[in-house]
């Protein structure tokens, strides 16, 4: 939060900087907690409710911290017609959470995104920034395990 | 003191209350009711018994939050105790094999009709259950009721059921499609019972209703629950609560139920202002 204050000091105190400031908070803290909202509101001289209203409008900001691993499944049209929904279902089953949420142990966040623009590779799964193209339902298990293993290695 | 085992909001405004009362659970029969007091300073109100578990020694009622007392009840939770929980009171419903019986329930009556439907089914009747809800999200106990019914119908003002009916319309359409009805049991708000009776009056189907006048002691002492049936004065608590709906003086009942409306509102307003927490 101390960083947050430093970052905000560089943000002009006008409301048009709101989304900019929220990007900062999201990048700095991994989500936008109530204290960050309060600080941004004070800095930009707008009400906390307004900040929150903007924050909840945009998908780029999250209210909850994300898991250690972020699994992003593209659900663009191209991926959809190539079977992305089945991949989503399989991940949901494997991780035991709905898309858009984080496992209770804060290990995985499963999310879908409208299009990552790599349609040739569809269906695409991005795990911690790594692209996996033409994913099949039967490969999901491997992908999840791969994540766990790489973590074990690091640990 | 009786301990609450479970208090749960079933749907908006309707709450289930399961109370540990082994004595009542052992003796109660369909159609009977209990008197309950939410706290030492509260009033006593009657609630129809909606289910019981003789082994567990518990009695279940379903009530609607519609006044100070029920609002108080709705704030209780498992483990809390109520100072008064007495019963079973009233005469049990007349359970026999009539043939085909329509059990109509609305609001809290959806739960109240359940033990009667169950008993009627056990007695060999063909049970048609008709449940009235305003909208789909107000329907509860569907599974429970389906299990004791040969037919399960819903009248609602919700497109979910592709209908826009009220109970009488459904009774009429049932009769129109040639269903044989030997008896109707209706439980719910006074208006529902009244309009059910109006629908069965012409075809002459015996219709039993579970009256809900204002009641104070529930044992025939105070006379508050006086109602006119067949021109004679009856006490709903000891002579009922079940009566022949075609013989009830409905206008009198409507009027009597409204007697204390003003005071009821004041009471609730006072309670809300003084007892409901406002954040500081």
């Amino acid at each position: 939060m101390a960083n947050m204050e430093a970052v905000l000091a560089g943000v002009a105190p006008v409301r048009s900087e709101l989304i900019h400031a929220l990007h900062h908070a999201q990048a700095e803290l991994g989500h936008v907690p109530p204290e960050a909202v309060a600080r941004i509101a004070r800095r930009l001289r707008i009400s906390e409710s307004e900040v929150y209203g903007v924050l909840t409008f945009y998908k780029a900001f999250s209210l909850e911290p994300k898991g250690k691993h972020v699994v992003t499944i593209c659900s663009g049209t191209a991926c959809h017609v190539r079977g992305a929904p089945r991949i989503v279902e399989e991940f949901q089953r494997k991780l035991g959470v709905e898309a858009g949420s984080t496992t209770p142990d804060r290990e995985y966040t499963l999310e879908t995104v409208n299009c990552v623009g790599a349609c040739a590779l569809g269906p695409i799964v991005i795990i911690d920034g790594n692209y996996h193209g033409q994913v099949k339902t039967t490969e999901v298990h491997k992908l999840v395990e791969g994540c766990r293993r790489s973590q074990a290695k690091e640990g | 003191m009786s301990k609450i085992i479970r208090r749960e909001r079933l749907v908006p405004n309707l709450h289930l209350l399961e109370v540990s009362a082994p004595e009542i659970a052992r003796k109660c029969l369909p159609g009977q009711f209990v008197m309950i007091m939410p706290d030492e300073r509260g009033e006593r109100i009657p609630l129809t018994i909606a289910d019981w578990d003789r082994d567990k020694g518990s009695v279940t009622t379903v009530f609607m939050t519609v006044g100070t007392t029920t609002h108080k009840l709705a704030r209780l939770s498992a483990g809390d105790e109520v100072p008064v929980f007495v019963g079973p009171l009233g005469k049990p419903s007349d359970i026999r094999n009539y043939g085909a019986v329509l059990c109509a329930g609305g609001c809290f009556g959806i739960a109240a009709i359940y033990p009667i439907a169950r008993a009627l089914k056990e007695a060999g009747n063909k049970v048609i259950t008709l449940v009235d809800v305003k909208a789909g999200y107000l329907l509860y106990w569907e599974d429970k009721l389906r299990k004791v019914s040969d037919r399960f119908l819903v009248s609602a003002r919700d497109h979910k059921f592709e209908t826009k009916d009220y109970v009488p319309a459904k009774i009429k359409s049932l009769l129109a499609e040639g269903a044989k009805l030997d008896r109707v049991v209706a439980i719910g708000c006074t208006y529902l019972m009244y309009s059910s009776c109006e629908a069965t009056r012409a075809p002459g189907i015996k219709t039993v209703v579970s009256l809900n006048p204002i009641m104070v002691d529930g044992t025939g002492m105070c006379g508050a629950c006086r109602c006119a049936v067949d021109g004679k004065t009856k006490f709903a608590c000891v002579d009922g609560p079940d009566f022949d709906g075609h013989a009830v003086d409905w206008n009198e009942l409507f009027a009597r139920r409204k007697s204390y409306l003003d005071h009821e509102m004041k009471s609730l307003c006072y309670w809300e202002r003084t007892r409901l927490p406002v954040c500081a």
């Binding site: 909840t56 409008f57 209210l63 | 709705a74 003002r157 319309a169 309009s195 009821e264 509102m265």
Partner: protein, 795 residues
Amino acid sequence: MKITIDGRSIEAQGTKTVLEVAQDNGIYIPALCSHPRLAPYAACRLCVVSIKGKPGFQPSCNTYPAEGMEVVTDSEELRLQRVRTMELILSEHPNACLICSEKADCEDHKASIRKSAEVTGCVFCSSNRRCELQEIVVRLKVDSIPYSSVYRGFSVRRSDPFFIQDYNLCILCGRCVRICHEVRGAAAISFMFRGSQAVVGTMFDRSLMAAGCQFCGACVDVCPTGALAERVGRHEALPDAEAETVCPYCGVGCRLVVETLQGRIQAAKPAEGGVNRGQACVRGRFTLRDVVYSPSRIRRPMVKKDGKLVETSWEDALAFVAGKLKSYAGRACVVVSSQLGCEDLFVLDRFAREALGAGGAVPSLQPSILDGLGDLVKAHGLKTPHRASLADLPGSKAILVLGENVPVSHPVVWVEILEALRCGAKLLVASHKDDLLTRHASQSLKIRPGSEFYLLASLSKVLLESGSPQAGSGLKGLDGFKKSLEKLPASCLADTAGLQEEEVRRLAEALRCCGPIVLVFGQGLISMPWARENLAALWDLAVLTGARLLPLAEESDLFGAWLLARRKPSGAPSLETVLRAATTGEIKALYLAGPAPLPEKHGLEFLVVQDSFVNEACQGADAVLPAATFAEAEGHFVNLEGRVQKSEKVIEPVGEAKPDWWIASHLASRMGAEGFGYEDAGRIKEQLDKEGLLALQEEGEAGFVPVTAPSGGPERAAEYPMVLPGEYCPDYYRTLALCQASPDFKVLRNPRRLKIGPEDAAGAGLQDGAKARVESSSACAAGPGTARVKITGAS
């Protein structure tokens, strides 16, 4: 210009929307999101019309007339489009009752059901029969909804005072959000999430209290459904009568429509016309009922018998009081509240002089800002700088607010200031804290409490140094003023006010460059010993810049009381002298028709309390006379602009209460005074008019007054290291505090709560929620007033 609506040729202005033009001409177009006070929003899509030459449908709320425009508001396809849109709206609103075949019979039989906790149909809803959805359903003849009913399942929010919020009923028309943002500037609520998840709410779903809501009730009043419902009276039936009164608290003089059911007040809502233009504040909107029916109402006359107050008849009480008072003629005084009507004040004043031989009735709020300005007029023989009316605010270019937290103390003035900001005005604020006021300010100076004089004088100085503005040139006293400025110590600004000259220069620039300026100030500016100096500096700045003054009168008839007081011979007693005289025994009898901090030990022999509420003074009173409240008597009030407004009688008096003028005139008559045979308030008003007592005539020459540095300046005192700034808020009616009358109000503003900065708190060893002990340097710090204090933790 001329436009055609449904074949009718209609004269239209370009400033009104097609919807408004149609409505003005009696043409019905359903609409849910539009509101006269709000910018077009075009979200409900019910007000669609066809316009010749344009494809498809156009929302009439966002379409402005153009010469020759041809509008069709009613056609089969429009009706169908509206019905289908309405069906969509209703699919997410508990709609069963709207389309129920039994709705005619049902309401009669299910009256009690309104007491339910959650609304699942109209019969449960407090807005039943005044709901805008119901009206549109009838108009459009919607009788079925081809969608499953969606209940969003929000829990009903009951943890806030004054009103509850059930967003299951919300149709997202956005009126509440928009009025909160656009008109009230609070932005306590906002839209959250988006798409079908969109909902009105607060940050992280916190309470409105936590979101900084001031509970002005504007959102409740614009809500077309029952989603926002007043807590009190929510379960009651609809009102059967209404009357228009003037809000009894502050000096803005908002007009309120008071709704009654069977002669009892249910609710008060801001009237559309009048100074307040459909707006009110938490006091007027939500506390009237609690005040009028407060348990501390005095219901019957009481006289002291054997050391105890006992109830008696009016006849006996009047006889007793008149008899006793007669013997104290010349040694008695009358104190009045400036929240009484002009009729009451006038009769009480006459009563004081003609029956009691006193110098006149003494207002309890003294000195007031009006008195302060009046004193300057008297002392220098000049004319007061121009006065501003509320209507001057939106047309102004700069507004300087001093000594008052306007959004809290005078919220309706704040609404007009916000309107001015929308029209391009600059808001300049000098305040010691960050709040709503500074959030909206174009320029705000952080100033130490109590140092406004230095800011004002420095502003004048800077303006004069860089060439005096046109407005002040050539006026009387300019040279004297300049000289007096030069005498001021140079370092005071930074030392005392904590301001840098550069900041002041920027503020001065803002005052110089633009057109009409309004200086808004309140009791906070005179709550310290150097009140006169502050006012003089303000006066001069106004004359110099040609600004208008808007003194924020704290009490509803303060202006009226001031006008009436002008006819007093000079040397009329002030409250302070009265209290001193009472203590020393100089006067023997006191007649209290308003709050007065009577010392515990006094030399009074006879004390009469004429009030609506039992108060501290009653304990020692020899007689207590129940007075009617504003709602129980007709009367006139003069608001802060000098506007004389009539307040109607709403209900019969509670208990045996009588109007104040009635009591005073009966006593006077009994004491043998002449000309007190008033039959009703109307007669008194006639006399007031005949004598021209309520007319404001200010004569004399405009000019400057010399300024002097405050002598008892806020120098740092080691013993009392902190300054406790007085925060004025007319949160009372006569002797009743609103937090005492209304439990909800107590939640909102508890005067026993102290706000202190984190460093100061740490220094005093205080934590959030701890008890504090406040010691003051001056004896009169019991009431609100800026004072030097010492704050320590209390056990």
